[in-house]
């Protein structure tokens, strides 16, 4: 390659890089100025998140119980007796650690979606672990018992291995990028890209899948079921955008990753994240920086999706 071709390539590369939000810039220009440290608990503590969002009318999974101390567990068996399907999660867990999804009641206990059997004593011990902070970096924690979200039937074909969730980056109350995270066999039912879930970039205006990645590599078909991943419209897309913005306005945090599940009767917000990852750019094959620039410079603001709703 000639020198001038190298130079042109390099300039192209620099121009392309300028469109990509980096980790350093995310932290310095978006998280620190928009999310005050003192408000982090609103996102980091899922119990608090649900209380605040629920109070402002944002749909969230119903909380059955929460436990914050060991002696409250004495009533655990009575509390759980009427429940057949529920989720146990640590209020301040991260990366999906400590989450148990119960799908049915058995004679002497419960069965999880992964087929594991739990007696009441097993659950008590697991909840005690959560309370003592096993899944929350050594801090004491609350255990939440909440309704299990039943995935929208339209999504069952796309995501047969577990609950798929939608991640939307919201900056200054405006949706920026979104993706659908689809569990695979390899990810063991977890919608976590690091663990092998698929990331499908979703067009923010239409709710249609436009690009997909698996372990950082682009693909068009599901590695397990081989169905086409792209070109599908997510159900309730307008509603998803509406409640995401509603949730963003309910909290004093201005740069958020909002995670939602889609049930048959509409979307629900599962959690909000004050440090949303930047891999979503790869899932969409779209750099975030120009989009964020538009939002951060209000006088040049173009007509945004939210205004058009």
């Amino acid at each position: 390659m000639s020198w001038s071709a190298w130079k042109a390539n390099w300039q192209n590369f620099r121009r392309g890089s300028a469109h990509v939000l980096t980790m350093n810039q995310r932290n310095l220009h978006f998280i620190y100025p928009n999310n005050a440290r003192k408000h982090f608990p609103i996102a980091d503590n899922k119990l608090l998140t649900k209380q605040i969002l629920g109070a402002s009318g944002v749909p969230v999974p119903e909380t059955y119980q929460s436990y914050s101390s060991f002696f409250e567990l004495r009533s655990l068996e009575q509390d759980l007796a009427p429940c057949h399907e529920f989720v146990i999660k640590p209020a301040q867990g991260s990366g999906g650690g400590g989450i148990v999804v119960i799908s049915e009641k058995t004679e002497d206990g419960w069965r999880s979606v992964s087929g594991h059997h739990y007696t009441a004593a097993d659950l008590r011990r697991h909840i005690a672990d959560i309370i003592f902070g096993v899944y929350s970096f050594g801090l004491s924690d609350h255990a939440i018992i909440e309704a299990r979200v039943d995935q929208h039937t339209e999504l069952n074909e796309l995501s047969p291995f577990g609950l798929t969730d939608v991640r939307i980056i919201v900056c200054h109350h405006q949706p920026v990028l979104s993706m659908l995270r689809v569990p695979t066999k390899a990810s063991d039912g977890k919608a976590n890209l690091h663990q092998g879930a698929l990331g499908i970039g979703i067009d923010i205006e239409t709710g249609c899948g436009i690009h997909a990645i698996h372990h950082g590599e682009a693909l068009t078909h599901h590695p397990d079921t081989h169905i086409d991943l792209l070109g599908r419209n997510l159900p309730f897309w307008d509603e998803i955008l509406r409640i995401s913005c509603q949730a963003a306005q309910a909290v004093p945090l201005k740069y958020l990753g909002i995670d939602l599940a889609i049930a048959n009767d509409g979307p629900l917000i599962l959690e909000i994240n004050v440090r949303p990852g930047i891999e979503i750019q790869n899932a969409n094959m779209l750099g975030m920086r120009p989009l964020l620039k538009q939002i951060a410079a209000p006088d040049q603001q173009l007509e945004t999706v939210r205004n058009s709703l």
């Binding site: 392309g16 890089s17 990509v20 810039q25 310095l28 902070g133 096993v134 050594g138 750099g287």
Partner: protein, 531 residues
Amino acid sequence: MPNRRFFFLTLFALLIAAPLGLISYKLLVLDYRMADLIPATSYHVDINMTVDGHGDDISMHTYLPKSDPRQHITEETQTSGDFRLDINSDPLNRIATWKAEAVEGPQSVHYSFVVQAQHVQYRIPTGLQIPKSYPPQLAPYLRAEEGVQVNDPLIDEAIDKIIPQRDIPISELLTRMHRYLQDELRNKNFSGYTDAITAYKLGEASCNGKGRLFVAMARKMNLPARSVSGLIMKSGNKRVSHQWVEIYVNGYWVPFDTINDHFAELPANFLTLYYGDEVLFRHSRNINFQYSFQITKKLVPKSSLREHIGDSMLNIANLYQTFESVGISQNLLKIILMIPFGALVTVIFRNVIGIETFGTFLPALIASAARDTGLLWGAIGFVMVIVLTALIRRGMDWLQLLHSPKMAILLTSVVMIILGATVLSVQFGLGQLAHLSLFPIAILAITAERFAIFEAEQGLYKAARVTVATLVVIAAAYTVMESQFLQSMVLAFPELLFVLIALNMWLGKWIGMRISEFVRFRKLIWSEAAK
């Protein structure tokens, strides 16, 4: 916010300008010499002696080196176990005596020190004649003694052969003697005792035979002479000591080595242990006495730096004295002063290169602890502690314990692994591993926990990858923190730490793409570039 920007820039400028000003002041006004900041070669020498006791009292003696204008001895440390160490000095030598009563079983004694020595060379004035008489204190260096048969006719015979016309200047005389011993008398690799006459008769000798013959001939010619024993310092383990001679010429003791052909000179890697024709080790009988010298070459700040800094005012030397008065040595201070450099290295690896490691500053802390073990053993120790502790955590997962007690058990395990490694390494003579005790124990316990979580949640591959990345950063931090130049600089100019703060401020505002992100987003970058 313009105010914040103004404050940032002002502070940044101040943090750069103030130290630079101070450094210029020290260099220009206080006359710090940059040449002193260039590190010098030094050797760490560890004398290791082992004995087997059978219930009897044991005593052992050896000579310890003294600082003199040619060699500088520092950082002397010792471990004597059951033995009591006494050090007695006479005007020439320092004699160490270890004593213990009713010794049973194998015992070992270590004495180590750091030597920084200079190459010396003497020029002997050409016309100088042998004096007729000397001050009385030199009399012992002219007498015959055991092994040095000054008055034996064979010595006369030897001198007649080398110097038929005896009234020649000292320089000519010494040149001939030196050439004879170096060229005519074959070098023999023999560790036993050879007296002057035997060496002459055999026509070959090792260092002690040649030395005695040299001393005998010099004394016969009325030149005061003495033998010197010491070590030729070279990295590695050795048992062989060396002997050379010094001749008193014109008020100086001038060294000669007729094995390695050093005429009136001594290289910088010669360590003088003692003067006089004595044996290096004396000890009780039947104790299976063994010894060895473990020698490691390293670079250290010049000793003249430490002394020179002490002379001037506005000076850290005074500060250092304050620290020393509370038991913080300059050596420890140096380690502490280097930790911010290690931290800067880890910041660069995280924010500029984009390498994920266990713990933010763990690599810098391990690197500073590895100073005593060496990088290789530090890395081996680190991996060993992490993997063993993670295995123990696995076991406890199975036992199903609550978090805090589990962490306390992990901490205890780290302590036990480190102590066990120390005991085993002493047993098997892996001296370096014994220094693992300086590892930051609590941080290692947390790291082992994180390793185990990584391993459980993201697989062994990911955990191993982060471990390797951590080792890479440890190695980088170690290399920077062991840089003798930086060590000398920060000891002389501790105000450089302000510059480090400024650099970190700059990195703290740097929003560029990490190198790892170029890889991660390479396809996206090209796709964006094509738009």
